[in-house]
Amino acid sequence: MIPADLRVMAEQERERQEGFRCRILVCAGTPCLSAGADAVLETLRQGVAEGGLDAEIEPVASGCMGPCSRGPLVKVRSRGKEVIYERVTPESARQILFSVVKGRKPPTVSPLPPDFPFLARQERVVLANSGAINPERIEEYVAAGGYGALSHALHEMTPDDVCREVSLSGLRGRGGAGYPTGVKWSLARKAPGERKYVVANGDEGDPGAYMDRSIMESDPHRVLEGMALAGYAIGAEQGFVYVRGEYHLAGRRLEGAIRDAERKGLLGSRVLGSNFNFRIDIRTGAGAFVCGEETSLMASIMGKRGQPWNRPPYPAQKGLWGNPTLINNVETFAAVPAVVGRGAEWFAAIGTPKSRGTKVYALCGQVEIAGLIEVPMGTTLREVVFEIGGGIPSGKRFKAAQSGGPSGGCIPAAFLDTPLDYESMERLGTIMGSGGLIIMDETSCMPDVASFFLDFCRDESCGKCAPCRVGTVEMHRLLRRITSGTATMDDLAKLEELCELVGTTSLCGLGMTAPNPVLSTLRYFRDEYADHIRQRRCAAGVCAMAESPAPGAGGEALLHAMGVPGEVE
């Protein structure tokens, strides 16, 4: 395939789509599927077939539309107009189909209002195609402008140009740390080495985050195109997508997408008629959070235990099989086609001066509408929770938002007006992370939340370095003492000292950031900790406190001495 063929393909697909009176898109992302989307799609297909409407109406399985807690979602698209229905059942799907045929409103099902804030307030760049195309048809991606940026880069830009464009855009790593993507690419480009590799990190292990899964499921070609652009920019001919083991659907869609792209000459040898060769293989994770860390991830790709190694050397210098390796998060790669295609200036104009572009968040927890959103960097937490997310259900109060998963921290109500960008979040003692935003109301207990995350880290620690391996276990024990009402203020001091040790001396990012949920909840909710220890009281009613010991008879000491039952082994 050469660029001209790509244009033809896009043109033909657009014509095909315009040939329909109406296309009915049914979200086939994991949340909607588990809510019954496939039955809805089946009903629509049957209805269309029975009515002999094949030429007029096309039911389409699309990617994620966003408001996952309202699924299954159905989008009716006709003559440039779109209406979205939520919580569609096979019965209401029949009504919707009937109404489309008759050109009337369905009698008992109402679509979401056109200004539904959850959708209207977003700015979709990375998610532009999510919920708008069928992720399993490469033609639809191409018709939406897909592979245009790659084609442009291969024929009009030098690899240096591509690196420069990415640098100028101000794009930063969407996986957590926010390292400037352009700098990373330039380092990998300059690193000496005959073979180089590009790796997409799709091992989204943060509990409460599923941006990457949704991108891989809803728009797999966008990730592949981003990787190919990276390969061209740094001089790599081989890429790997490391997909989290739990993400079957994402893996399947990526596999299909790679096959299709190779068949069409958009990956493989002589991509788009140029001299650039690029293959992509999938590697499947097997359930280890630590593999989200770059060096562990590479160990895992090479078939080893996912244990990190000391840096330097950095992956860009010495990565897979000792060769320079560029690792970016899936969302970062997914932003690249837009950066290269629409230009660095366009991208840099979105967001804040230091955090440019948009960010995808998985908004969930105690919020009215949970789902996936994409907003410009710098959007305030209040806008996200109350305008887009519709506020807190059941008239409860917002208590805190947890961001960054086990490596992150929380933002309390007092800072609701904080703009969500890398710097502001770091100032508050949390991190942007990969974009999970868990909203908590007054029914959440902060020491309990901290204990939850430490339990996670303790479980996911690879065991290579002593501070993380043992320190996280001891921290978790101390937290459980606190949440069970058997701790002393001395234990709290011990906990804080361990936070410092584990955060400072651990080998890799997992250990270094493991104390963050504790430090952050201590920063804003120290009273709650003190309450648990001194009053043996959990205001949220989450923690089951040990019974108050009988006065005298060594009760207090006994309670303290016993702590909580051990659970190692």
Binding site: T30, P31, L33, S34, A35, G36, A39, P67, C68, S69, R70, P72, E86, R87, T89, S110, P113, F116, E204, G205, P207, G208, A209, Y210, S214, G245, E246, R283, T284, G285, A286, G287, A288, F289, S300, I301, M302, G303, K304, R305, G306, Q307, A362, C364, G365, E368, I369, A370, G371, G390, Q402, G405, G436, I438, M440, S444, F452, F456, E460, C462
Partner: protein, 193 residues
């Protein structure tokens, strides 16, 4: 000695070699040209085909890929996905990711543990059900989530999960049905007018 009778290269018992499930493993070994770095991909396929990784399987994979036995065992036990024990007939997985956790999925685990007299991560004595937990399935919008033999049930409660697990064991397959509708509050914000 356990392995004294083994030949160095054909350690495979006739039973395993002729097992139809084994062809998938062989195919994958070939597909990756017996490269040592394919270890995890091969173990994935072996686990998928057999449900767990037996000593014999791991031994075979080690010899084929020419990696030390200890490394195969080290890798197989490092990752949560691999099981060295046969699993139960049915599986019930409770998500304990953050979103599910703040929506009290812990209570579901407790209830199931009590109901089936089995600790999380283990299989019931009768081999009918393996109860396990997972850190986030990325279906946070449906929290709390329980997965029965691969079918996701969103917005579960301790009662609904226990009932569904009992039905699963009784009927032999998971039921497919839309997520229970949450009581809808009309008016005020968002949603249907």
């Amino acid at each position: 000695m356990r392995h004294a009778d083994k030949q160095s290269d054909s350690s495979l018992s006739p039973a395993l070699a002729s097992d139809p499930r084994f062809t998938a493993v062989e195919r994958t070994l070939k597909q990756y040209q017996y490269r040592p770095d394919a270890l995890i991909e091969v173990l994935h396929v072996a686990q998928e085909a057999f449900g767990f990784l037996s000593d014999e399987l791991m031994d075979h994979v080690a010899r084929q890929l020419k990696v030390p036995l200890s490394r195969v065992y080290g890798v197989a036990t490092f990752y949560h996905f691999f099981s060295l024990e046969p699993r139960g007939e049915h599986s019930c997985v409770v998500c304990t990711g953050t979103a599910c956790y703040v929506k009290r999925s812990g209570e579901i685990v407790k209830r199931l543990e009590g109901e089936f007299d089995v600790k999380g991560g283990n299989t019931t004595a009768d081999g009918k059900l393996t109860l396990s937990t997972v850190r986030c399935l990325g279906s946070c919008g449906l929290a709390p989530v329980v997965v029965l033999d691969g079918e996701i049930a969103g917005r579960s409660t301790p009662d609904s999960a226990a009932a569904a697990a009992h039905r699963l064991i009784a009927e032999g397959k998971p039921e497919k049905k839309p997520v229970a509708e949450r009581p809808r509050r009309r008016g005020r914000r968002g949603g249907t007018p």
